[in-house]
Point group: C2
Chain length 347, copies 2
DNA sequence: GTCGGCCCAACAATCGGTTGCGCAAGACTT
DNA sequence: AAGTCTTGCGCAACCGATTGTTGGGCCGAC
């Protein structure tokens, strides 16, 4: 492979100068005369010389490589988040290298170690669902490689984290539905071991408590596997004939809930209102368009990348805990209830 | 950064051996005695030594890095494709580094060059929509870095390509609809400058021709920007009152078409049948579930990665042109027409 | 006419490993 | 007992760049 690549030595031989001079000429070093620089550049051009970053960064200690470890390539959030990260990373002349842990702590550990082997300049992590502690990140601090945790995290006192303000989003969701007259809502949440899930639920519950609206345990769906959703939804409908609104905490839960509602002939928002936390893509192609608390994956990615690059370049290890607020986007999926609901017959 | 990292030299000093011996001991070289190996490993362990890949691969000439350049992080196809690639890449002890060209030929060029600078062992490319020729890939062949083009390509005689059998998929789609009595179908296609688009359309047209079903130009929608879809769809409905089926060539077009149909009160499949080419995710959460010609992104990714790794490891430059066939997945969105359609009134 | 100084460019060390070759000491032939 | 094999390890070159230091040539100046 690449055995025939042009190196500095080749150029040096061609122009009849030493490697050192060629290197400096290419780097526009003041010690080198204009004439020599021009000559060297021309030769480099014609030989189509490509510097070997591996060699260069071996000496330079850094790699201008930023690693991102994600648990999976979720179709809703990840693509936009990665796009955001990528933009900032590129703008700052770093390269992004993306790894997938497949939600396995073993893989995650392996990948973290791999980051050190590559001597990445910084690491961005979306924790896998299996990750319960952060010991495996110690190798990174040993090598003084800065880390930023984003989106999915666990409690930590040692690492900079950037997340959606999950609890607040959950709170706002419930408050919004209640304000529109929905006093019997169902909340659809995912695996409670994930902090993101627990926080959104906590906010949802707290809003109910604060507003004095009762919230039965059966109004809370905890969906670990997406195929449990249908049964749980059926049970909720059975338990609560007065159910008028559903809140879904993610896009994935939203599209599947929407699908199941359509299938059972439930009209949105006439029969049941629907509200979600989302990055706005799914709400746009569902009918009716779904009112949601929007969190931009792009923004999360961009801010995270900025912060990490700041840490790298200023060698700072100040710990931050940034929470991004969601914004309400009102579309057509939430009706205002003034009277008690009248349920339509289902097919 | 990482200035304090343990190196071979540190280990050598600690155990009182030469770097060469330590290196060989760690590599399990037969020249080194069991006892020495054990001692070295133990020290490496306690010092938590991490080899510097940059240095190692500098000499080794290769990098075990595979680069993937994609135009954008499309939410439907890319995630699964990347997941597939990633799996195979990891299994073979390579690492995947993902770049995004943002559909810009300038970026694409830059990234290709960057691949050579990183001395990637191989490059996977999904061409940007702006890419009209493949000259910028010559640097790669100059460095004898193998390239595989996948999914979106243009005509080429020089590079290995792996694509969905687009034309056949378009043909099958039309044939399927026609076989179910839909003699007036509309096909929704994207930007015709893309080969994938042109081929799917060609198949769609050819099936009509072969089966002797007329196909008016107004039955073919060419949607370059997604917000043109609504108007074009309206025009098609106006031009063809006898319209009974719609074919969408991608997931993105599918979800938006589905949304617009729902909005105009068109029932699927009672009023209009819907068929798509898809990787199966969107069809599962739309109502009713959409019958589609399935192409697995994961499979495409896996096969591509296998082929590239084969090229890398056997140093082969045999050109291939692999086409992956789609499989029909019949769900609930296509009705069988036996008589001429009776259109229901719209809201 | 020598000397300080300025330009330019070369030498050589270095980054962190890998590897061909040589060499010493012990084991084994005959 | 001398010669041949093995075994186990070190020397030193090398990968492709960067960079601190050195030194030759040429200038004007005293």
């Amino acid at each position: 492979m690449a055995g025939n690549r042009i190196t500095l030595k080749d150029i040096a031989k061609t122009v009849g100068l030493s490697m050192a001079t060629v290197s400096r000429a290419l780097a526009d070093h003041p010690d080198i005369s204009r004439a020599t620089k021009d000559r060297v550049r021309e030769v480099a051009q014609t030989l189509s010389y490509i510097p070997n970053y591996r060699a260069r960064y071996l000496r330079a200690k850094h790699s201008r490589l930023i690693a991102l470890i994600v648990p999976e390539m979720n179709m809703f959030f990840m693509p936009s988040m990665i796009a955001g990260i990528n933009r900032v990373v590129q703008q700052n002349d770093y390269s992004l290298i993306v790894f997938q842990s497949d939600n396995s702590i073993v893989q995650e550990r392996r990948l973290v170690e791999y980051c050190t082997q590559l001597s990445a300049d910084g690491v961005l992590m979306v924790l896998s669902s299996e990750t319960a502690d952060l010991q495996h990140l110690d190798v990174l601090s040993d090598c003084s490689i800065p880390v930023v945790l984003l989106d999915k995290t666990i409690e930590t006192v040692k690492h900079t984290t950037i997340t959606i303000d999950d609890q607040e989003a959950g709170r706002e969701a419930a408050a919004y539905l209640i304000a529109h007259g929905h006093t019997r809502c169902v909340g659809v949440f995912s695996d409670q071991r994930q902090r993101i899930s627990a926080l959104r639920l906590k906010g949802f519950q707290r809003a109910h408590a604060e507003l004095g609206i009762p919230l039965a345990e059966t109004q809370i769906l905890r969906v670990a596997m997406i195929d449990e959703l249908e049964e749980q939804l059926d049970r909720a409908f059975a338990a609560h004939p007065d159910l008028t609104a559903i809140f879904t905490m993610t896009d994935e839960l939203l599209v599947h809930t929407h699908h199941l509602l359509s299938r059972r002939g439930t009209r949105i928002p006439e029969d049941v209102s629907l509200l979600s936390i989302s990055d706005g893509q799914a709400p746009a192609f569902l009918h009716p368009n779904v009112t949601h608390l929007r969190h931009s994956g792009v923004e999360l990615g961009e801010r995270t990348a900025h912060i990490l690059i700041g840490m790298i370049e200023h060698n700072s290890d100040a710990m931050m805990d940034v929470r991004i607020r969601t914004t309400l986007v009102e579309l057509g999926s939430v009706a205002t209830r003034t009277t008690s609901p009248k349920r339509r017959a289902k097919r």
